[in-house]
């Protein structure tokens, strides 16, 4: 037992969790914590908007696999975190948020929680549906356990965000503290071991399968199951499609890789998914963006669904073999059981079909008079970037071009807002990723609409010396919305034209970053190479045609078979 203030207890508890960095903004109700933070040795990165603090913590978590921490003051500070927390919740990312709160009591009773005090918001109520765990501490001595539970719950089972709300008087009051390692929570017992009977059923299905396919989601990355997935896929000569969240869990230069499946999945992945007879789905929640019309999804396939979250099984798709367990443990067990019973088939008809489809030329791009086509640019980017470079994306066309054309080879090198689809996520997430992996090049593939939403973080990037590269695919449009209007709303461009503002080069320069306009692929390539060596963030403004579409595309509500491969 040791006597200290709530604020000191928080920082001590964070150190015990090996927290090195906090992204945040200060404010009235969190001052006591910032005061202790001042000479604590923990790095505080001053974001310019709390939403970005949460996104940066998220990017940090996704790039490193360690929990990301963000902090904000009460009221608007806390509510500004909400988009970032919801984003982390939908993509199962361990973001831990600390918020200041008004006093629980005061001599002047108008300053109590529940009295609508200045900068009071019910952040516990607001974040209940978007956190895995949240808690408002009522006395300082509760802090060590609240922090321990927040980290434990956020990082185990299916990860997700946690929030601890800290009333100001609780930060300043002094109490006896006990720091233990005990994380017993009677209502939370994540289970990781697969049920042997279900695994046997899965093995039997896979043995009998003629056209097995894997759908790998973000769970594969979270559970570090990439080596096991590769081993199993190669043993069965079984092609692997990924969801947007799973991108990177299987090397996309591998002959069995099909790329992403779904609304903007590859032609090969969407086709073969429909032809399969056994689907091994791992760490995916069968989002509507992945499956298209659920009634037409994998009509002939028996489905094996491995997920650590029992509630995901049977939620969207009815499955034949449910396995509630960790992906890594399950895949390795399936592999162990299969290897004795199976002869590797190099030239099965199914693998030949995979080869045949993969060898067909994929949606070539019509170059026209300009070579600044996003797919070509992104392929060029892949050639320039080292293997361990991290790409983040914004949301919209930029994201889907990146998903389709940025060949990803390693887990945690492709970071994107999959579930919530948060425009403005990519840039702050890139900063978080760079802080987590300072040795890696980090590039945000952005659109002009998205980048404008969080561009103020250029200030953070320059002053905190976190150099990244932002490629703005600039069509002066909310491009994806415009694409839908082009295809489904008779080209009535309602509320999508952003015009030629701002000048992104001047914008970057205003913050002390570098800005470059490029007019050709060659110029892009040269600029990009320079940007990688730059000690300051570079914004590359790339004009692209506002008429550009992302194809292939499965229209919303349609089945994967209704894929549109090109315009017209």
């Amino acid at each position: 037992m040791v006597k200290m203030s709530g604020a000191q207890a928080l920082i001590e508890a964070l150190k015990r969790q090996n927290v090195e960095v906090i992204f945040g903004i200060s404010g009235g109700s969190i001052l006591p914590i910032h005061d202790v933070l001042y000479d604590s040795g923990i790095r505080h990165i001053l974001s310019r908007h709390e939403q970005c603090a949460a996104h940066a913590a998220d990017g940090y978590a996704r790039a490193s696999g360690r929990p990301g921490v963000c902090m904000a003051t009460s009221g608007p500070g806390a509510t500004n975190l909400v988009t970032g927390i919801a984003n982390a919740y939908l993509d199962s990312s361990p973001v831990i948020a600390f918020t200041g709160q008004v006093n629980t009591f005061s001599v002047n009773s108008s300053y109590m929680i529940g009295r609508d005090a200045f900068q009071e918001a019910d952040i516990i109520g607001i974040t209940t549906p978007i956190t895995k765990y949240n808690y408002q501490v009522k006395s300082p001595s509760e802090i060590p356990r609240a922090v321990r539970l927040a980290f434990y719950i956020a990082t185990t089972g299916r990860p997700g965000p946690a929030l601890v709300d800290l009333p100001k008087n609780v930060q300043t009051e002094v109490e006896e503290m006990e720091f233990s390692r005990n994380v017993e929570v009677r209502g939370y017992k994540p289970k990781t071991e697969p049920h042997p009977i279900q695994v046997k059923k899965a093995v039997k299905l896979l043995l009998e399968a003629e056209r097995p396919i894997v759908l790998a989601g973000g769970g594969v990355i979270i559970s570090k199951a990439s080596p096991e997935l590769l081993e199993l896929a190669e043993l069965l000569m079984m092609p692997v499609a990924t969801t947007l969240m799973g991108k990177g869990c299987f090397p996309e230069d591998h002959p069995l890789s099909l790329g992403d499946v779904g609304m903007h999945g590859t032609r090969v992945a969407n086709k073969l998914m429909l032809e399969s007879d056994v689907l091994l789905a791992v760490g995916t929640r069968f989002s509507d963006r992945t499956t298209g019309n659920i009634d037409e999804f994998c009509p002939d396939a028996k489905i094996i669904h491995v997920d650590i979250d029992a509630a995901e099984i049977g939620k969207n798709v009815e499955v034949d073999v449910p396995i509630v367990a960790d992906a890594k443990e399950t895949l390795s067990l399936i592999h162990r059981l299969l290897i004795y019973q199976l002869k590797k088939q190099e030239n099965s008809p199914w693998f030949n079909r995979v080869k045949e489809l993969k060898d067909q030329p994929q949606n070539e791009t019509d170059l026209g008079d300009c070579d600044l086509k996003p797919p070509l640019l992104i392929k060029e980017l892949r050639k320039i970037l080292p293997e361990n470079a991290i790409v983040t994306t914004e949301v919209g066309q930029n994201q889907m071009w990146a998903a389709l054309h940025f060949e990803t080879h390693k887990p945690r090198t492709f970071i994107s807002s999959g579930g919530l689809g948060t425009m403005g996520f990519g840039f702050p997430a890139a900063l978080g990723a760079k802080v987590a992996c300072p040795g890696c090049a980090v590039v945000d593939i952005a659109g002009d609409g998205s980048f404008i939403m969080t561009e103020q973080e250029l200030a953070c990037s320059v002053l905190e010396k976190i150099p990244v590269t932002v490629i703005v695919l600039n069509n002066s449009m909310l491009g994806m919305v415009a694409q839908w209007q082009r295809l489904f709303y008779k080209r009535r461009y309602s509320a999508v034209e952003l015009g030629k503002a701002p000048d992104f080069v001047k914008l970057a320069e205003a913050y002390g970053a570098q800005g470059v306009h490029v007019g050709s692929l060659k110029e892009f390539s040269e600029t990009m190479k320079k940007a990688l060596k730059s000690e300051v963030t570079t914004v590359i403004d790339v004009p692209i045609s506002p008429e550009e579409n992302v194809f292939p595309m499965v229209p919303a509500g349609k089945g994967l078979k209704d894929i549109i491969e090109r315009a017209g």
């Binding site: 209940t128 549906p129 895995k132 209502g187 979250d309 029992a310 509630a311 049977g314």
Partner: protein
Amino acid sequence: MMKEQNHIISAIVEHKPGVLYTVANLFRRRGFNIESISVGPTEQSDLARMTITVKGDERTIEQVVKQLNKLVDVIKVSRLDPTSIVTRELALIKVRALDTKVRSDVINYADIFRARVVDVSSESLMVEITGTSDKIDAFLDLMKPFGVKEVGRTGITALSRGVKSVKIE
């Protein structure tokens, strides 16, 4: 379409502020319909039992149970087997009763249903009745012609019969 019917779910939860909000919020957000919910302390002072009646098909109920299980403050969730449970509900019913004829009719019916008159005023009687929801419905139907002024129902609370129990060791 699978058949929609009422299911009774018994959940042992942390007995602390905010838990009812969390549970109710889950139902709202996922679009599950609560027919009734009753909450009260259990034999362990730090635990509460929520008895939730939900309308839905088999798949919905399975989701309800799984989603409830995910909540950190929910410790144990069970679906009660309708063939071997005891369910009870309590209702307070205020009936218009201006003359003695009506009064004695209400009191007679109450006797038959083993209900009790718990309050009397010059214009009304208040009856307390306990039993299954069907029994209460039937009694309410009988009271309607007299003029039901107010009804308060607790919602169902339920336990499994016999040695089986939803309990935390």
